[in-house]
Subunit: 365 residues, 2 copies
């Protein structure tokens, strides 16, 4: 990453200075209507910013709605081959990267309540990459496509190229069956329950173990695997829609940051409660202990750690949450005054806890 | 690229030793039926190997057929920022890379006679990348989407990430309007004319100029631009279908290599004639002269140079070729004996010329 210092007072000149949101603003300005049109070929039924795009093909008998998302995993940014160096991490590097690349994209489709129909894989490899790595990678993809919710999804093509490091770009194509509406970030209402579909902070704890060179034996192996080879449940989006979810999104950049995005899109605020997060931190305690970190670190992992690949969704107050979902907070009105309000107004996410609100910005150095 | 020596007698162990075709064979073996299925969600109507995949969504009133392709451009593999170093190359690096990334994918859809409806862009950037590069890149994409044949195609999403070098993965989604059949590599018959839709070898000549550090002034600028910022005609696929084309594919790895692939898929042989290629080499002569290369180099560029982004198609003997297409040879029967036949049988492509049959293997060192 760049070692250039950020100059917050000067206009940003590089990608690292602008950060992900700054770069996105530039992209949207440059594209104008080409990112958000309706014409006689295709209608984008959502504004940009959700986990996936929904395209409607208007000239079909029954309008076909396809859902599209793309993500890239890069060596040394999203995984390190050194993690597999002297230690056997239970499953080979290629297989783990295949599982993670598939999970990242299939989880985005799940978060829109779409059914995956196809993956396209663009793979950049150094010439010295062992063929066993390639075998493992496609074996990992194939395993991901046997997950409930992804069965029936096919690998429809790809591209092979050479480069100095491994880079995997996957595009996932989904459908919205029948008249099912996509689950989006828009729709949360004051009084809604806020819930998550899986344990939080596990991948972040796993990352800390791997970066510390820990051997991840015994009970720590599950946390390691949440980082190197996530296997998200891919039926939670459809379950959430069934249960009446009002909004939803993939949890990939940490609960607090992603809840802020959902709140902004829905025009509400979200209060995250510490007590239910404590249900999630217990599973992280062995990692904090192994790394001699204070116990508060587990709350940081659960609230701000990325790559959970869980569903964050809001449900009406009276709704019964689907099996496997845990309530973590409540939607509150944007108009309700709040004591932490300052000159910029109240924050979109209210989390009264000792830890900072820290997410992860993939672009900022 | 790897500097490892290839050991043709030993079983290949790395990607560089196996080459692109070897790696593809491993992928297909690993995936098995997951690369070629028909189930109740989706039917892949083509075997893998064409420029794009065609998916049929069977539960629509009128079956919707979407066409998908993906390609990656990597810094130092597909372009070098040093090309823009001391010299102004007419258009900035970001804009050129945007044009090329779009061209690569839109050209694949064109080769299937599909209408582009959407692009997804996964962009990996070093933190120090100037924001002007990003603006230029999306400006180049937007320009490509104003090309006849691509108008109406929208940018439907993307992904931003960090990495040591610039890497651009684009997925293009197309449709087959009405009852139009896709143009594929299968279908060429003995007696067909073999034709190309644009000048050959221009991008290869441009690459040679750039790699030599030439300033590409005057008449050489067009060859440079064919390499750094190709602007393919995106209506030739539909034109070819209209004119009765029996088979077709995107020319990206050089005429001789790609003609061999089409011949293999169709179960025929193809004879490429030197005389019509001479029509293509004339435009390359200034580059050979500027680089003090023998005149025969121009024939090598035209016959084996990659990245032409033109359509290679076969037409019945009696068909009138569409405007802009040039005949370059003829389809001959695989059974017809040929003097160059050896123990392995006759080659799929017959080109009687002084130059070697040399294409470009993206994986082989």
């Amino acid at each position: 990453m760049s070692t250039e210092p950020a100059h917050p007072t000067a206009a940003p000149r590089t990608v690292a200075q602008a950060g992900e949101d700054g770069v996105l603003a530039i992209i949207m300005a440059e594209l104008g209507d080409q990112a958000r049109p309706a014409n006689d070929l295709v209608t984008m039924t959502l504004p940009p910013g959700d986990d996936a795009a929904v395209l409607q093909l208007p000239d079909d008998g029954a309008p076909a709605r396809i859902v599209l998302t793309t993500d890239t995993l890069s060596q040394d940014q999203d995984f390190r081959l050194e993690w597999w160096g002297p230690q056997d991490q239970g499953l080979p590097a290629g297989r783990a990267v295949g599982l993670k690349a598939a999970a990242q994209n299939l989880s985005d489709l799940n978060a829109m309540a779409a059914t995956p129909i196809s993956l396209l894989v663009s793979l950049t490899l150094p010439g010295a990459t062992p063929l066993d790595w390639v075998r493992g990678f496609y074996g990992g993809l194939a395993e991901a496509l046997r997950t409930p919710g992804a069965q029936g999804c096919v690998l429809a093509g790809g591209d092979l190229g050479s480069g100095p490091g491994i880079s995997v770009s996957i595009t996932a194509v989904g459908r919205l069956p029948g008249s099912r509406q996509p689950l989006t970030r828009v729709g949360a209402r004051a009084g809604d329950q806020v819930a998550v579909s899986a344990g939080l902070g596990r991948a972040a704890a796993g990352l800390a173990l791997l970066e510390a060179g820990h051997d991840c034996a015994g009970e720590l192996a599950g946390l390691r695997d949440a980082q190197i080879a996530p296997r998200p449940v891919l039926t939670t989006g459809a379950q959430a829609v069934q249960a009446g979810a009002t909004a939803g999104m993939d949890l990939s950049d940490g609960l607090l940051r992603d809840a802020g995005r959902l709140a902004r899109a829905s025009g509400v605020r979200i209060r995250i409660d510490e007590a239910p997060l404590r249900e999630h931190t217990r599973a992280l305690e062995p990692a904090a202990a192994a790394l001699h970190l204070p116990e508060a670190q587990t709350l940081h992992w659960a609230a701000a750690g990325g790559e959970d690949y869980a569903l964050l969704a809001t449900f009406p107050a009276e709704a019964a949450l689907p099996e496997g979902f845990c309530r973590v907070g409540e939607v509150i009105s944007a108009d309700e005054p709040h004591e932490s309000e300052d000159a910029d107004g109240a924050p979109e996410v209210i989390f009264e806890s000792a830890i900072d609100e820290l997410g992860w910005d993939s672009m900022r150095a």
